[in-house]
């Protein structure tokens, strides 16, 4: 691979992984709330979480730029006090990806937690377990395949993220130029078709790898679901 290609390739993986790390714990908590709790405004929370699936990604990136850019109150606060600049850094790219892939993280976790038999929770309660202990020892282990499926789906989504990334963190080689952005750059600027095809193939390779893992994890996930229904 050329320096241009490998830089984009590794950056994509790095950003994809940080992005999934960001949303692992929030994804589990929100999945749990949506699956197990009933409260006023649940439908609102549910729709809010699914927003990234329907808002154009570039819109989300631009909103992030307004909220977290250096001219914004929040962005300025982070920069002045912690010297953190999210816009135009790879960490910001991971943030944009994590928002875009959040619904995909929550969904399988929620489905699996909803499918769990609530009677098992009662049994644990009768044995003196607190709600927190039930979450840790019953809910979480039974939702494990869902968490894994969510992680891989979110990672795959992050690998392909384009719109929110280019709007929020720009197209900076070596910092935020992931595979989709590099591919776009080539399509916009290059007359060398081979170059474009090469990078396209690299993108496809990474996506297929991520999807292969996703399907194998999903199979496990479905098996677990079947076993629980028995």
């Amino acid at each position: 691979m050329t320096a241009f290609e490998s830089s984009a390739f590794f950056l994509s993986i790095k950003i994809g992984m940080l992005s999934t790390c960001f949303i692992l714990i929030p994804g589990i908590i929100i999945g749990w709330i949506l699956a197990k709790k009933n409260f006023f405004g649940k439908i609102l929370l549910d729709s809010f979480i699914h927003l990234p699936l329907v808002i154009p990604p570039i819109g989300i990136g631009y909103i992030l730029l307004i909220i977290l850019g250096k001219n914004s109150y929040l962005g300025n606060f982070l920069y002045e006090n912690f010297n953190i600049s999210l816009s135009f850094s790879w960490i910001g790219a991971a943030l944009a990806c994590s928002i875009m892939s959040f619904p995909l993280m929550v969904r399988p976790i929620r489905v699996l937690m909803e499918a769990q038999d609530k009677k098992i929770d009662d049994a644990a309660r009768s044995l003196g377990a607190s709600e927190f202990r039930i979450f840790l020892t019953i809910t979480l282990p039974l939702a494990y395949p869902g968490i894994l499926a969510g992680l891989v789906l979110a990672f795959a989504r992050s690998i392909g993220e384009f719109g929110a990334t280019i709007a929020f963190v720009g197209n900076i080689p070596g910092e935020t130029q992931t595979l989709p952005l590099a591919l776009w750059t080539l399509i916009e600027t290059s007359n060398n078709q081979n170059e474009i095809i090469r990078l396209g193939l690299i993108s496809i390779f990474l996506s297929i790898l991520a999807l292969l893992i996703a399907t194998s994890v999903e199979k496990k996930f479905l098996d677990r679901l079947k076993n629980d229904k028995k």
């Binding site: 038999d117 098992i120 049994a123 644990a124 009768s126 003196g128 020892t137 282990p141 039974l142």
Partner: protein, 215 residues
């Protein structure tokens, strides 16, 4: 000897009918006998706190845990009740020993139960690979561990082979006597009921009444 007891007087809904049940149990085993669907399990769920009765009072060792007038409703986990569910409700992702020690890791009773319930050979097996009788024994064993104040046993030995069943029934009799634990035992097997206790109740016309024993 410490006097422990379970007292309740409740009105609860079973299939849109109001069921009246009142009972006082001391250091003894009381059986509720009858066909399924008559409301036996509902009474147990009311005492355990899984379903709330419409009206009434429940107390354990003279501590009120439910009173609809005074709005007392102790959460399930603070009632300290050993409950062997009709449908076992084992933790399918854990092995047998993890299920048994979920409430307490107290070794003395655990070893005894493993021995009497004949569980040595399956301690590290996964729940989903076990037979119905094995699951029943684990569920009952799990409910006994951790010093519960009372025991609610909902058909805990159906599907367990006869020989083992009577070993366990003897153990339960002993337990209620020595540790002075009130036991409410639900069954549709008259032999079990007669073997355990002289106090056998049944539900007739939506009322829990004492069964007249005709031999």
């Amino acid at each position: 000897m410490i006097k422990s007891n379970l007292k309740f007087k409740i009105e609860t809904e079973v299939d849109k009918l109001i069921l009246n049940a009142s009972l006082e149990i001391n250091n003894e085993i009381v059986c509720i006998f009858g066909p399924s669907g008559s409301g036996k399990t509902t009474i147990l769920n009311n005492i355990a706190g899984i379903i709330n009765p419409k009206k009434g009072k429940i107390s354990i060792n003279n501590n009120c845990i439910f009173d609809h007038q005074k709005k007392i409703n102790t959460p399930i986990r603070q009632r300290n009740i050993g409950y062997a569910f009709q449908d076992e409700r084992l933790f399918s992702h854990m092995n047998v020993i993890k299920n048994l020690t979920f409430k307490s890791k107290d070794q003395i009773l655990l070893k005894k139960i493993i021995n009497i319930f004949n569980l040595e050979n399956i301690l590290y097996r996964k729940i989903k690979n076990l037979s119905g009788g094995e699951k029943k024994r684990i569920s009952l064993g799990r409910s006994l561990i951790g010093n519960p104040s009372i025991l609610l046993l909902d058909e805990p030995l159906s599907g367990v082979d006869e020989e083992r069943k009577f070993i366990i029934l003897n153990f339960l009799k002993n337990l209620s006597l020595k540790k002075s634990i009130p036991i409410l035992y639900v069954t549709h097997n008259m032999n079990e009921a007669k073997y355990l206790s002289e106090k056998i109740f049944e539900i007739k016309n939506s009322i829990l009444i004492k069964r007249k024993i005709i031999d």
